[in-house]
Structures are given as C-alpha cells and as structure tokens.
C-alpha cells in the first residue's frame, strides 16, 4: 500500500485515513510498534509536523497509544479495530451507492448488479 494524496483535502486527514486502513487491513498488526514519526514522514514524503498531527489524532481516537519512552503502538483492542473497519466499509458503500444513483441506478438495481458481477468474478 503506497501513500497517495488528493489535492482537494488536507494532507493530515488523508494520513489519518491511510494509517487507519493499514491498521484495519492488518498491515500494522494489533499491539505492534509503529515506525517513528521521522521514518513514517520520510516514507510518505510528508512534513514531519503533519505526520505528528495525524498520529496525535489517531492517539486521541484510541487506535494508537503512546508509551512514554519507546514510541507509539497499535491498539490491542481488536473490537475497536473491527468497529473502524465497519465504519470505513459503510462509508465506501454509501459513496458507491451515491455514484450509482448519479448514474441512474436505484439501490435495488445496484444490488442486483453487484450480485451478478460477484457471481461472474467467483467463476
């Protein structure tokens, strides 16, 4: 998973989302240590202060916790991670349905289409 930023929104909110994604997908596993701010900033090619701000927000909402001397860790609370995962999934679905409705498909049509495409893909 690479780091990508869209032009129309603050970089730090995009960092928050992308780190969340890395946590719920298991790329950063529960209880493991997060790389340092500097390393993460270099990896994502962003300003260290911006990365710091993103990590502070993730700490605030509980996905990360800081250990005074040894750095930041991913939460061990797997329920919380699942909850975040659900939230992300719901938002993806909402935005997809929104796009489909702009194309002129109602929810029913869309669900029917999804089922047929899913069948196709599992063949």
């Amino acid at each position: 998973m690479g780091w990508k930023f869209k032009a129309d929104r603050p970089i730090y909110t995009q960092l928050v989302e992308q780190i969340e994604l890395r946590i719920v997908s298991g790329m950063y596993s529960p209880g493991s240590k997060l790389p340092s701010v500097r390393d993460l900033a270099a990896e994502a090619s962003v300003n260290p202060n911006t990365m710091q701000k993103a990590l502070a927000e993730l700490e605030q909402n509980g996905l990360l916790y800081a250990q005074r001397t040894s750095g930041r860790y991913i939460t061990e609370d797997e329920k919380m991670i699942l909850k975040v995962k659900d939230t992300i999934a719901l938002e993806e679905i909402k935005s997809f349905l929104q796009k489909m409705s702009e194309l002129g498909f109602n929810s029913q049509d869309t669900i029917y289409l999804i089922e047929s495409v899913a069948k196709e893909m599992t063949k």
Binding site: A7, R9, P10, I11, A42, N49, T50, K53
Partner: protein
C-alpha cells in the same frame, strides 16, 4: 526564543524599481516553509537580504534577533540560485573547503549522501553535468547543522528521482530547532513537505498560511491555488 527569521516593514529598491515593499513576515523554528511566487516577485531578493548579500532600503530583517552578519552566517546555510564553486576543484576538495569554512559542517553526512546519489568524490566539478553539480551543492548545504536553511530553487535542475531523494533528505534532516525556507516554482512536487507557504506577488506578501489550512478552506492544493491566484 527569537523567531529564526523576522522581517519588519522590509523594503528593497533597485534604483527606482521596488523589489520588496513593506514586508512583515515571521518564520519560526521547526517549520518547513515554501516561498512561492511568480518570476520577479522578490523571492531571491528576500533570501539575499537574509544572507546579508543585499542591504535593505528600509525596514529591517533579523536572523535569530540579529542583523545579518558574521554571527548569523554561522547559523544560516544558504543554497544560492547560481553555483559559486570553483570548477577546477574535485568534489572531495570542495568538501574539505566547506570543512575549513564552517564548524557545523559534517563531512560524513556529505559523503553518505554522495554515495546514495552515486557521485564520485574524486570527480572534478567541471566534468559533472548541470544537475549533478546542483546535487553536490545541495548536499554541501544540507550537511551543515544550521538553524536556518535558505534554499533558492533547490530542485529545479534535477531529475524526478533525485528530487524525491532531496526532499527526503530535507525531511530526514528535520529538527525542531531549525527552519527550512524553500523557494521554488515546482509547487506540486514539494507541497506535501511544507508546513506553511508564503506567496509573494509584486514585492508584497500576498498570503501566508499553513498548507493544510489552505487545503481545508479552499478545497484545493497549493499548486491549484497558485495557478488561480497568479493566472496569466
């Protein structure tokens, strides 16, 4: 603590032409700041004033609370827009030269970066391409442990891969005590590295704000905003 760079009603005229008029600007330590503006907006003039290469026509410019001079040059690492190094020297000789000049110059750091960019320290400067020469010069500047880095167009002449490496070097060198000021036209390439931007237009500060605030309020990138504000 004093801001690392402060301009108070700073004005510079070349004869009758005004280059900067009545600039008020403060840059704090720990920030990476983009100095952006169209050609002739006063970017290089501002940087030269900060280095004491020019003297103000009016107002003042302070580095860590002092006027530019011998003491401030110790803590300012400057990358000029043009190269001033002697062509007949080898890269290694230039490094020795810098070591003699600046007590805060770290040769180990310079050699490490040269190696990463596959530049041979024994090559003479005159045999290097324009882009490679620019890389050498930036390596020299970033190998000093300064409080203020003033980089005048640091990435203009180098290829995209080296550009990424240079930006990463700036990120990796980051420390809370030092500020970095980067003047450039290549906004899209550097905006994710910046804390704040200063837009100069016709010798005045048109805007100074944090990158994420601009994105938040305007719903567009700094590059997009620049193109809109300075539309020709």
């Amino acid at each position: 603590m004093n801001p690392i760079l402060e301009c108070k009603s700073l004005t510079k005229k070349y004869g009758n032409t005004g280059a900067l008029s009545n600039i008020d600007l403060t840059i704090q330590r720990g920030r990476i700041v983009g100095l952006l503006g169209p050609n002739g907006s006063g970017k290089s003039t501002l940087i030269k004033l900060a280095n004491g290469l020019l003297t103000p026509t009016g107002g003042e410019i302070l580095i860590n609370g002092s006027y530019p001079g011998i003491e401030t040059k110790k803590i300012v690492s400057y990358l000029p827009e043009r190269t001033y190094l002697n062509d007949w020297m080898s890269v290694k000789e230039v490094i020795d030269f810098f070591k003699d000049f600046y007590s805060n110059f770290k040769p180990d750091k310079a050699y490490e970066m040269l190696e990463r960019l596959a530049i041979n320290p024994n090559d003479k400067l005159k045999t290097l391409s324009k882009g490679t020469k620019e890389k050498v010069q930036l390596i020299l500047v970033m190998s000093r442990e300064a409080d203020l880095y003033l980089l005048d167009e640091p990435i203009g002449g180098v290829d995209p891969a080296a550009r990424d490496y240079i930006l990463n070097t700036i990120i990796n060198n980051y420390n809370e005590k030092a500020a970095v000021v980067i003047s450039t036209h290549l906004i899209a390439d550097i905006e994710s590295v910046l804390d704040d931007v200063v837009f100069l237009a016709n010798g005045k500060v048109a805007l100074t704000e944090s990158v994420d605030e601009i994105r938040e309020k305007q719903g567009k990138s700094i590059d997009g905003l620049f193109r809109e504000v300075f539309k020709c």
